[in-house]
Amino acid sequence: MKTRVFLLIIIVANAVGNVLLSYGMRQVGSIASYSPLELVAGSLRAAGNPWVLAGVGLLAVFFVAHLMVLSWADLSYILLMTSAGYILVTLLSWSWLGERVSPGRWAGTAAIAAGVALVGRTPVSTVPRP
């Protein structure tokens, strides 16, 4: 139960964080060159965008929750279960960013969903721990 809650936080924070970052960076505009000055100026512009800030905050939540869940769960379980994020990203970029999703990508999304459903029925931890 605890693990499921953490998985949900990890998946949603990572997917929504990345989508917000992508949305915000499109408003900020592309970074024109890779000169140090332009990188600093671009970073400052990005840091002033509320969508970018919200995205970075959610990615921090993702990082901490991922560390916490690995303190008790199998890596092989967490790694495979969090691939459900691809499903959420596909749905969000289709519905929210208005991207066109190819049939191949829908097929991949379905394969991931089937894989996650299988792994979800295996035990969270298979290693005896103190």
Binding site: H66, L75, G108, I112, G115, T126
Partner: protein
């Protein structure tokens, strides 16, 4: 060069996750979920050499990926990195001694196939 960079990306990601898992299990299962505990998790993590090493591994993987997409199409680079799912499941089995049932292996293969298709 392409295969070297791809190996660097996959190895970096896999080693990073492996180190993070080893480091966090050393700390013992976290049982305190009050909001203030978040800061404690971060400070524990920041002092754990495995967790610190994982960040180095992810950095190698990230710059490897930047190098990779600078010489090949993203439509090759992104699906190819799905190999990390298989590599990490093997490492979890042989290094972390997790038991990977047939069901979990079947899931791992479906997820890998799915990630390849999604990122093609």
């Amino acid at each position: 060069m392409t295969w070297f960079l791809l190996a660097l990306v996959v190895a970096g990601t896999a080693a990073g996750d492996l180190c993070q898992s080893i480091g966090m299990k050393q700390q013992g299962a976290i049982r305190d979920f009050r909001p203030g505990a978040l800061g404690r998790v971060l400070s524990l993590a920041a002092r754990n050499r495995w967790v610190l090493a994982s960040i180095g591994c992810f950095a190698v993987s990230f710059f490897g990926f930047l190098g990779l997409v600078s010489i090949v199409d993203l439509s090759f680079a992104a699906p190819a990195t799905a190999a990390a799912y298989v590599v990490e499941t093997l490492l979890a089995r042989y290094v972390l001694k997790e038991s990977i049932s047939r069901q979990r292996w079947a899931g791992a293969l479906l997820v890998t196939l799915g990630v390849v298709l999604v990122s093609l």
